[in-house]
Symmetry: C2
Subunit: 398 residues, 2 copies
């Protein structure tokens, strides 16, 4: 198997499909230690290629390992090794956004159904830019587009900004100069569909060196409401830094690492804003809003049990909880987009479940992450100091 | 453990938490057959109580069973037995919608954040009715509300129908007589949030004998585009009739059975409409739209592999694919709502991936399931024949 890998995997392949050498026969005749030992040797070899690994076998190992050890969350090495440097493995050399789908080239037209756009019906290359900011709510992303319109000193009133994707119910898309502001709805499924179509769109639009930032809201964990959390790593409900993607009837484990340099750059931007707290932490991504809370229609656990779980999450490094970060990090990472997640905490889930802050307070909280990202974009565009100079000049002349 | 069950589980409990007797020690010292044998005896006992079963242990058994047998999807009996009759176990005797959350009673106010409603700020009992129809798109659910407005012979023009939940970006809610028409966005997370808040709302509104129907769109499997599929059972990507709900760091298996009588009633309604095909079939619920298709930004499998998988799905009884049915069936079942899923197939995924039918054709397809449900509601309300008589009388007098 190991000797065969180079024949299976060509250096220029930009996607892979690989079955781990942990088949039903091995399970039957080997013990856990032997299986893991074999897998580690294989995984080391695989790691050199930077491959996604189909995880049903390793999830079996995970279960066996959980069953076989007191530290029930300590995973066997094979699972750790199955995490390859996706971006090293996949990022395009020329900065173009690459899709990892050989079938697209053979398609006569590419219809972006949920965005109401098409590669034939729209001139995509002239439509799109270098920064993409996404968030759940259409109104919030329109407000962000209007903020960027003002901050970038665009002409006319930002109020008349048009939704590029009007005509579909699913997503709103606004463009202000090099900035796209897109809503993605709630949850992993909704943002996943948007990302697939967005990435195809950026690919057709021949966009280069795209930076994509999710500007969201979240529940805080042991932090003050209104704190902005820049996500270090997105983790699942078991505090693991992966996203388990079902593909047909396989489960593929995808890395949820985000761009470390971008995280630092965003934190540095915040140092020039002194009016709200910002920190770097893990972000936990859940599949729903209510099942881990006391105020849903269904609840079968006590407040103590919930708090014990949330404290375990806090101890694991989690500082906020939302519903999109893992799949966002996974898909963007695979397609070579530099991605960041910046979410404001609306409340502290270690203290209460229900969001009780007045509407205007919540709106002010949501402006914080938008303000941070607008500063980041202006600095990237070299407009930040210029604006200051203009403001000073205006001040001096009046 | 078996002898202790009656002390653990009281007949009047409406939610349960139970650890299966398949612990780490057993895994270490017993073989698969012994573990399953023990579990089956225990599961038979559990089944008498009608309990949700925490499935990490059984998912371990599932993995072991998959590893230990050639028929890799044949699950050991324990997993089958873990399916209890939720509705028998949980349905309220008086037809009221019951929440299964003891914490709600102790809450001073219940804020339905995503619906922009509250138990203190709104008079919920006078607001809501007996039929709830949900679907992904706000515009589609407004169109359905307007159709019901016309079909129920309401006064005034249906065009001025107000969105009860205007002021939130997330969902639209329209009320026409006893019918609520609600949008739920795309995917399991989005509909799950709406259902939790809807069920709390129906509970506060003291609604009785509520029937809830998801009117959706879907990809067909071996059926003509435009065919309406009434879901028999909702299944996951592995063709299993369950929904795996993560609660804190546990995975709970929930039944996705739907109301058989309601399915029959809906099929009978269709017999009075002869202008489009309708059938009963399994509906497969996926976590995303693109990862199982050839036209996403990421694809690592061939068309042949995809078709082989879809043919296996077809052979398992699946006739259409969408993204909400399993969690919809699970939550509604647990809360005693009679639920159905009625989705029109926009295309046949065994033939093509991309949705290429003209907009007006897709709109006509979507009207089909709405038309069927409006007939169902009119018959339930005893209005169907009355309307006919009125129409005839009108015809005779003119």
């Amino acid at each position: 198997m190991q000797l065969g890998l180079p024949r299976l995997i060509k250096p220029l392949d930009c996607y892979f499909f690989l079955l781990l050498h942990v088949g039903t026969n091995d399970i039957a005749k080997n013990n856990l230690e032997q299986i893991i030992a074999d897998s580690v040797v294989l995984a080391r070899r695989i790691k050199e290629f930077g491959v996604q690994v189909v995880s049903r076998s390793s999830s079996l190992l995970k279960e066996k390992a959980q069953a076989g050890t007191i530290k029930s969350w300590k995973l066997p090495p094979v699972v750790d090794y199955s995490f390859c440097k996706f971006r090293d493995g996949f990022r395009s050399r020329n900065g173009l956004v690459h899709v990892k789908n050989p079938h697209l080239d053979s398609m006569d037209e590419n219809v972006l159904y949920h965005l109401n756009l098409g590669s034939k019906t729209h001139n995509l290359p002239v439509m799109f830019g270098e920064f993409v900011c996404v968030g759940g709510s259409p109104n919030r992303m329109k407000a962000f587009a209007q903020l960027m319109h003002k901050e970038l000193g665009c002409e006319r009133d930002g109020k008349d900004l048009k939704d590029i994707c009007a005509g579909t119910d699913w997503y709103s898309v606004y463009k202000v100069g090099p900035v796209l502001s897109i809503s993605h709805g709630m949850g992993i499924s909704s943002i996943s569909i948007m990302l697939h179509e967005l990435i195809k769109l950026l690919h057709h639009a021949k966009c280069c060196d795209v930076t994509i930032i999710r500007i969201g809201t979240s529940g805080g964990l042991g932090i003050d409401p209104g704190t902005v959390v820049i996500t270090d790593i997105a983790v699942d409900s078991f505090f693991k830094a992966w996203f388990e993607q079902v593909i047909l009837d396989n489960i593929v484990v995808r890395s949820t690492e985000l761009d470390k340099d971008l995280v630092e750059e965003l934190l540095n931007c915040n140092k020039e804003i002194h009016d709200f707290p910002t920190l770097i932490g893990y972000t936990m991504c859940t599949y729903d809003f209510y099942e881990g809370r006391l105020d849903g229609a269904l609840c079968s656990f006590s407040n103590e049990k919930k708090l014990a779980y949330l404290r375990r999450a806090y101890d694991a490094g989690v500082r906020n909880i939302e519903m999109e970060s893992t799949v966002f990090a996974a898909i963007c990472g695979l397609c070579g987009l530099k991605a960041a997640v910046v979410c404001v905490a609306l409340f502290n889930q270690l203290e209460l479940d229900q969001i009780k802050a007045p509407h205007e307070v919540l709106v002010e909280y949501q402006r914080r992450s938008q303000h941070l990202i607008s500063l980041f974009i202006k600095k990237r565009l070299g407009l930040y100091n210029q604006m200051e100079l203009l403001d000073n000049a205006f001040f001096l002349n009046n």
